[in-house]
Amino acid sequence: MHELSIAKSVLETVRTELERRPGARLHKVGLRVGELSGVNADALSFSFEVLVKGTDLEPVALEIESSPRRQRCPECNRVFTVENYEVICPNCGAAGTECVGGQELEFTYLELEEP
């Protein structure tokens, strides 16, 4: 359960961004959370809500977009979404594919009202 630590990091960055935009009113924070990130979206939303409650940022919303696991085939360069843990290239059958998506834990946008 490290989502509280992660939510704190989200808020730190949000506050830094807001300092650069005096007078802006924050409505929403967009995040991308990969299925291999080890972060639970519900627990993260809950932690974020708890941290924001009673502060000047309330009632800001967190929108989490999940990102599927993707592998790239070094033989034929095909990038594919992994289903049922199948990592063999569906195009050429190569086994040594590498992870190129699904580990994300990143911001995507801030929704603001600026003066």
């Binding site: 359960m1 630590s5 990091s9 990592v87 946008y109 929704e111």
Partner: protein, 226 residues
């Protein structure tokens, strides 16, 4: 309403610190490994076997993380190498700042191997870069062969899987082939070793892996120094 794109990692501050640590380790030619497992899988036992087999003049140090107690540091200190306990006081993982602080006044130029034993937890430590050269995941056969599928974050990031407690295989329903297959489904490039810290079976394969990685780190440093 204005939607402003923000391309930034959530843990960018940790990543920045970890990047600084990695640069320092590389400059000094230090191989840094981050050992991750569930509680009781055998990280400390593996480190005991490792330190016990090294000559006293080897340039090795250990940081060991736990929520409470300095038991592990005391277990590891008897081998005579520098060991420091990081007690997180509740936090379920180590982060780059804790490692940076724990290194304190250690003279990194006097080291070439730094072993970091993370807090026993297969989930949270996976998210935090500590500046290591590689993550090593330890899984004991008492835990179940489907763990790689249940904990994708760590198994997809680790370069090496050490399957420990193989001496217990006759007593537990653990399918080695299934465990290997599951680990490769999470991470096709992962290396896998089978060891028992109790009987010392396979420990030589771990020592060999470690020596190969240390050699690679030394070689990279020599290339940069030229």
């Amino acid at each position: 309403m204005n939607r402003v794109p923000l391309e930034k990692k959530v843990l960018s501050e940790n990543d920045r610190l970890a990047g600084d640590l990695r640069a320092r380790f590389r400059r000094e030619g230090i191989l840094c490994l981050n050992l991750i497992s569930s509680p009781g899988a055998g990280k400390t036992s593996l480190l005991e076997k490792t330190l016990g087999s090294l000559a006293r003049d080897e340039r090795v140090a250990v940081l060991t993380g736990d929520i409470q107690t300095d038991n592990d540091a005391r277990r590891l200190a008897r081998f005579g190498f520098p060991v420091r306990q990081i007690t997180t006081g509740g936090t379920c993982h180590l982060d780059a700042r804790m490692v940076d602080r724990a290194l304190g006044e250690w003279r990194l130029e006097e080291l070439d191997l730094l072993l970091i034993e993370n807090v026993g937890n297969l989930v949270c430590p996976a998210s935090y870069d500590l500046g290591e050269e590689a993550k090593v995941v330890v899984l004991s056969v008492a835990e179940g062969d489907d763990k790689p599928l249940k904990y994708p974050a760590i198994f997809s990031r680790a370069e090496l899987l050490v399957l420990n407690k193989t001496d217990l295989l006759p007593y537990v329903p653990f399918d080695l082939a299934a465990a290997r297959e599951n680990a490769r489904r999470m991470n096709p490039g992962i290396e896998i070793l089978e060891v028992s810290c109790t009987t010392e079976d396979g420990i030589d394969s771990w020592q060999l892996w470690l020596e190969r990685r240390r050699e690679a780190t030394r070689a990279k440093r020599a290339v940069r120094a030229d």
